[in-house]
Symmetry: C2
């Protein structure tokens, strides 16, 4: 897919943070089709309030959030709305962000880029330090839930698929183009790739 | 069920905190059978490390944790082990703790006791203050997951059912006998009841 010159790029395996003001929308574009984007949102004025997967599941009473759904903070306040989703709508709300320990358990020796560190690094310039990494919304991540068993499968999204979210408060949004290259989170070829985003 | 005199009681709708040292076990007994217990565990020395539902799901690759499973912290460290479970093994890992906002959304005016405040109050004497309430392990809570839809149903547990957990680190454990009296979290009669626990 051709990237629009107005789009910003998150390089594969890296993270970015951006302010999305109340009423603005952010488009997250799966440029190559199979890249998972770990997504977080923190209230700009009070970052101890943030997008919370357990609260979204509790209020919405479902695992998969779709077009028209509001997304909730850890204070059960609507802080985002899913305005558009051109993908098959499969996004994970269950798994933790990958972190150094995840790769260690997968047998990696030494450092491996990971979404948790991407988050911390991206938040640095905003003066937000985290004691603990909130569970991300894993956009485009395809985790099957069959009989209570979870399995990470290649994404069902296609090149150019886009999720558009409207901010319902002033937010600091973080996107991490997940660096996973061992299990098929980012496709059968296990290769992290760029994604694009635009705020307007 | 007769309560053993050595057992401690969490009154229905209230919370308790207790230290469980590395190697000790804690029994959580559903005295009357249908009471949900919101469960948290914080590392005593470094309470920023705590039992984490998304990390448990990610490492164990399942929604329901059963006998023999270790339970993981937000640093993917094993901090508990399920030694015994005489209940049907249905415990929720998906929902947030009930909080003031939960009851407000359910139409309650004014204050309603809730698991999030029970947690904060119970942790006070241990000098642990929380910016955000981690998702609890909701012991005995029966949340059906069908086609990605979540529904709270009366517990499947019976009077006297017991979950025994072994601590793999020195922990501050918090139990909240969930105060929910509007939806059937705690049984079809929506009545919070006492539970018992013992550390040995």
């Amino acid at each position: 897919m051709e990237v629009d010159p107005a789009d910003l790029v998150v390089p594969g395996g890296r993270g970015s943070a951006v302010v999305v003001e109340c009423g603005q929308v952010i488009d997250i574009v799966n440029t190559f089709g199979s890249q998972v984007v770990d997504f977080w949102a923190f209230c700009r004025e009070t970052p101890a309030e943030f997008l919370s997967m357990p609260h979204c599941r509790s209020v919405l009473e479902k695992l998969h959030f779709t077009r028209g759904d509001a997304l909730y903070s850890n204070r059960r306040r609507k802080i985002l709305e899913i305005v558009e989703d051109t993908s098959p709508g499969v996004h994970d709300s269950l798994l933790a962000a990958c972190d150094v320990e995840r790769y260690r358990l997968l047998g990696v020796h030494g450092y491996h880029a990971n979404c948790a560190d991407n988050l911390r690094e991206a938040l640095g310039p905003f003066g937000i330090a985290l004691d603990s990494v909130p569970a991300p919304w894993n956009i485009f991540e395809n985790v099957s839930v069959e009989g209570g068993r979870l399995e990470i499968r290649p994404p069902l999204s296609r090149a150019g698929d886009r999720v558009r979210l409207r901010a319902l408060d002033d937010l600091v949004v973080v996107l991490s183009a997940c660096p996973m290259d061992i299990v098929p989170t980012n496709g059968a070829d296990c290769t992290p790739r760029d994604v694009a985003y635009r705020v307007q």
